[in-house]
Amino acid sequence: MTEHQAFKAWVGDLPADKLKPKKVRKDINLTLWERLYIFEVLRGLAITSRHFFGNLAGFVRPPKGRKRKIPTVYYPEERATLPVAYRGRPALVANPDGSERCVACGLCEKICPAFAIAIVGDEREDGSRYPASYTLDLSRCVYCGYCEEVCPKEAIVMSDEYEGLCTTRRDDLLYTKERLLKPAARLAQRIDYVRRIYAKCNY
């Protein structure tokens, strides 16, 4: 299938004129009322002053029990609720007993476009594999989420963490396995989302 055919298949049978980009109309004939400008200015002033006086009520603090009209989040005091699709710091999923799900297959290491992941795999007594060390260099990580996409064990997912990544020492950004591990219960939403979005089946 050529690229053109793929595009056709994607857009379906929309009429051709709907697919064209919208033209910038340079020949708009303003009415005399609009050309006088002063009345349009007054209309604009009415709109902006409506916003001004409307927001003046919740200026100091929102009235009790009422939601503030201004959608700004006062960051350190308030936190925004992030969508589940948000890609924060990658986290290793930990089983309830504290062991990692990772089997050190090395797929994430392979796919990582920034070469941020370094894994040393090992084998337990019973023959199951585990990463002896799993290092994620967050100073290189680009938060693309490929590791999560490629992981066959749902062992690494992007968490919703975005804090603590600012530091003055590079060593602080070298995250070891212990720092990356997060209980599966706290990542359940994301794991579920990943299953849906990448159409992963339950291995």
């Binding site: 200015v41 002033l45 709109i47 916003h51 001004f52 009209k69 201004i70």
Partner: protein, 356 residues
């Protein structure tokens, strides 16, 4: 003699403290907060002293500390003398013009007549025009001496724009002077004791024209061609830093105050409340004795005047954050092809009405 001198010094100190000490720093805060509220934002509110924030009122202080500790930089190849002179030429007229604007009526205090204006010139309005023209030099010199293309373009635009709009502004005010028969601002203010003699009723077209021209003179949006951030970095003050930058900035804010003062004096009844004459005000406070009544009436008048001034400052801020910037040719077309003929028409109509 001593009493007169004291009175003048007190008046100068009052105006200076209210303009430079109150309006100049507070307008920086007002501009941030008002624009934020108009755009559904919160605005600057993080500067704090001991964790007290008071809706961002500490930001002017933080600004002051910042600019005072900044390096005062003169670019290589700049004309040092004019580069230093320009901000002074820009700030001084903005402060000085308030000298002729009356901020209250005349009162009899302990047998001593007090007129609440620093200099009661009989050519008050011409004085304002003269000094407004000087502030053009500040902008043009600042743009030219900076040795910077953006600055030069800004200065050129400023000179063209300010000259064009000064013509229309002068012609607009002729209508006002025809109606009131005086250039003395205290007289114009005193006539407007009668609510129906307010300038807005006598000269409605003149008011709109004057406000437009005044905003253009002040170089604020929608007439901020000289400093057009998206085109000229910061226009004529691109190369300024530290206190010199603040002087341009303060000059701009104080010009807003001055323009609001002029508009209030000429068109919105100066220090008078509508339907309240000076005598009514005095009789209202008659219980405080003659001197006490005069003092109270004076306080009310000054408060009314600065209340009106604050309203016009709000209006000009609203206009600044509502309208997009004009293109350069639009500015010129508006000035020469719209405002100038309209100002002439205004004079013509005023003349006919006065004669008939």
């Amino acid at each position: 003699m001593i009493a007169d001198l004291t009175e003048t010094i007190v008046k100068i100190l009052f105006i200076f403290s209210i303009n430079v000490g109150f309006y100049a720093p507070i307008l920086g805060w007002v501009e941030r907060k008002q624009s934020a509220l108009m755009q559904d934002r919160v605005g600057a509110n993080r500067a704090s002293i001991f964790n007290f924030r008071i809706i961002g009122l500490f930001h002017p202080i933080a600004d002051a500390v910042k600019v005072l500790t900044k390096e005062d930089f003169i670019p290589d190849g700049a004309d040092k003398f004019f580069h230093t002179l320009a901000p002074f030429l820009s700030l001084t007229p903005a402060i000085v013009t308030f000298a002729v604007i009356p901020f209250g009526g005349s009162y009899e205090l302990w047998g001593h007549p007090v007129q609440l204006v620093i200099a009661d010139l009989d050519v008050g309005m011409l004085f304002i025009f003269a000094f407004a023209s000087i502030s053009t030099y500040g902008v043009v010199l600042g743009g030219w001496s900076s040795n910077n293309n953006w600055s030069l373009l800004g200065g050129l635009r400023a000179s063209a724009q300010m000259l064009s709009y000064e013509v229309a502004m002068g012609l607009t005010l002729i209508g006002v002077f025809m109606v009131y028969g005086s250039l003395r601002l205290t007289e114009i203010g005193a006539i407007q004791e009668n609510f129906f003699r307010w300038g807005i009723f006598m000269q409605p077209l003149g008011f709109v024209l004057f406000l437009t021209c005044a905003i253009a003179e002040n170089k604020r949006a929608p007439f901020d061609q000289p400093e057009a951030e998206s085109e000229l970095v910061a226009g004529y003050f691109t190369e300024y830093s530290s206190m010199k930058f603040v002087m341009f900035w303060m000059g701009e804010f104080l010009e807003i105050v001055t323009i609001s003062g002029i508009v209030t004096t000429l068109f919105f009844g100066a220090w008078h409340l509508p339907f309240v004459s000076d005598r009514m005000l005095l009789s209202l406070f008659a219980g405080a004795g003659p001197n006490g009544a005069a003092v109270l009436a004076m306080l009310v008048n000054v408060a009314v005047f600065f209340g009106k001034v604050s309203f016009f400052i709000w209006l000009m801020m609203t206009i600044r954050w509502t309208l997009p910037r004009f293109r350069y040719d639009q500015v010129m077309r508006l000035g020469w092809k719209m405002l100038l003929p309209l100002a002439l028409l205004n004079i013509f109509i005023t003349g006919i009405v006065l004669l008939v």
